[in-house]
């Protein structure tokens, strides 16, 4: 099959995940092209981090209330930012598309814009991948990124058929001590057990490739 792996990476962690997916798909005999999503402007660390702050109270409430989580996912405004010209602005020639980026409280802004602007997405099967700072917490990390992504992809007439997420053990706002504690409390394991190089990460990539090539 002809596939496209499109990703945005800020610190290189998502790039490693994209490379792992790319290598695995090529190993399975698929023709895979790569699209690196690049923001039009590189913002300062402070500005990048500060743009997420208004969402933190709502995200925190989502951890304690399912009703609020549903409300949050349904009503929050996804921030986007301009991206540079794409190598493949029209993806209609590809059979499968893998799209990924880091989780920035929600979808990372360049990925959100990419999904909004690519042409030929209707009827496609999409796989989503992402990296985040903490362990794979069901709501805080996984649902809060994949649910909005799935909703947007389905609204555009495509189908999300696979997902994989790994920890990058990095948080731009310096919240890693909290995530390490959460990992110990929730999973009784360190965050590093959920990174790409771990068993969790490797199996995640294999399962993702199994799902996407179905």
């Amino acid at each position: 099959m002809k596939m496209l792996v499109a990703y945005f990476s800020n610190t290189g962690n998502t790039e490693k995940l994209a490379e792992a997916i790319h290598e695995e798909l090529v190993r399975r005999g698929h023709a895979v092209e790569v699209e690196k999503i690049r923001p039009a402007i590189a913002y300062s660390w402070l500005r990048e981090v500060a743009r997420d702050f208004p969402r933190y109270p709502s995200i925190t409430l989502s951890l304690f209330s399912n009703a609020w989580k549903r409300h949050h996912v349904r009503t929050y405004n996804q921030v986007e930012e301009d991206i540079q010209a794409l190598k493949y602005p029209d993806i209609s020639e590809f059979d499968r598309i893998c799209v990924g980026g880091p989780k920035w409280a929600q979808m990372s802004y360049p990925v959100a814009r990419y999904l909004q602007t690519i042409r030929g997405i209707r009827g496609k099967k999409i796989g989503a991948f992402c990296t985040f700072g903490g362990p794979p917490l069901a709501v805080f990390e996984i649902e809060l990124i994949f649910e909005p992504m799935r909703t947007l992809i389905e609204r555009m007439g495509a189908q999300m058929v696979a997902q994989v997420c790994v920890s990058s053990a990095y948080h731009a706002a310096g919240l890693m001590p909290l995530f390490r504690m959460a990992s110990r409390m929730r999973f009784k394991r360190p965050v590093t057990d959920f990174m790409l190089a771990s068993e969790y990460g490797k199996n995640g990539v294999l399962n993702f490739c199994d799902e996407i090539e179905k």
């Binding site: 923001p39 039009a40 402007i41 913002y43 743009r51 405004n77 996804q78 921030v79 986007e80 930012e81 301009d82 991206i83 540079q84 010209a85 794409l86 602005p89 029209d90 802004y109 814009r113 999904l115 909004q116 602007t117 042409r119 030929g120 209707r122 947007l152 609204r155 555009m156 007439g157």
Partner: protein, 299 residues
């Protein structure tokens, strides 16, 4: 400068349905790939919907100033915005897409070049200033003809921003105030009519000469920079799936003087009636059975 989008929405008017957005995307994908919008029958087939459902979506897109459908008044025109149509121009049939703004669905004198390739046609001088939004990262050249002298004019843009234009004295005439768009006798509910009298002028002097003795003309003249600045506020993100027109409150207030929304007369700031009449346009939308598709944003 890179901008973020949609996180400061204060008020949401109606939203296009997802089907309507998918149809809109389908139309623009066709325009960008071939230069022309699909026929209604092609949309019906592609989406497996009834013609009635597709027509409802097109009606909403028309009300949202995204497309305009061909009507009897424009079915047999020989001139388009003051210039004779090319001999091989084929006008859309009644009920088909006439404009997929900022593109026209037929050959005309507003030719759009991207990477030396020309298969697109602009819809009007006003919209031509931000047509480059549809070709991200690429330099887009619009070549057209001045209404007063017939000389060639050129507008160069990238990512919605105006890079250059010739001649330097170029002016854009916006022919019809918002208040006249839908309610002019004989053109009630006609979404093609608003752009019919938008022209390029080679200079302000040429415009003045043309305007003298035409007391019935209600339009106003702007520089390409003013129009580009104004439209970038409303058109930003036009190529996005979720796009609908938005009104960025603070940006409009800050730019009010530079784009001519407020003009200084006798040392006093006077709101420009050309733009004030937008309120009447909103009222007319409802009157003619259209919904208001507009987001009001903080900036």
């Amino acid at each position: 400068m890179a901008r973020k989008y949609s996180d400061t929405v204060l008020f949401r008017g109606n939203r296009f349905s997802d089907t309507t957005k998918q149809i809109k995307r389908f139309i623009y994908e066709s325009v960008l790939a071939t230069g022309y919008a699909p026929k209604v029958k092609e949309i019906v087939d592609a989406f497996n919907l009834s013609e009635q459902q597709v027509r409802e979506s097109l009606h909403d897109l028309e009300g949202g100033i995204i497309v305009a459908l061909q009507n009897e008044q424009h079915a047999h025109i020989e001139e388009f915005m003051g210039q004779k149509l090319p001999d091989d121009a084929v006008l859309p049939e009644v009920g088909e897409i006439y404009y997929a703004r900022p593109f026209a669905n037929f050959k005309n004198h507003h030719r759009v070049f991207v990477d030396g390739e020309q298969k697109w046609y602009g819809e009007c001088p006003v919209e031509c200033t931000t047509i480059s939004y549809f070709f991200p990262g690429k330099e887009v050249i619009v070549r057209s003809i001045a209404h007063d002298t017939g000389e060639a004019i050129e507008i160069i843009g990238k990512d919605g921003e105006l890079l250059d234009y010739t001649p330097r004295s170029l002016r854009i005439y916006w022919g019809r105030p918002f208040g006249t768009w839908l309610s002019t006798k004989g053109h009630e509910g006609d979404f093609i009519f608003p752009c019919d009298k938008n022209y390029f002028f080679s200079s302000e002097d040429g415009y003045k000469e043309w305007r003298s003795g035409r007391s019935d003309e209600k339009g106003q003249i702007f520089t390409p920079v003013m129009i580009n600045h104004l439209l970038r506020m409303y058109n930003y993100g036009h190529e996005r799936f979720d796009y609908q027109y938005h009104f960025p409150l603070l940006k409009v207030m800050l730019a009010a003087f530079t784009v001519g929304i407020i003009r200084i007369k006798m040392f006093l700031p006077i709101p420009n009636p050309f733009f004030l009449s937008m309120a009447k346009f909103f009222r007319d939308l409802r009157k003619y059975g259209y919904k208001l598709f507009l987001d009001v944003k903080l900036w």
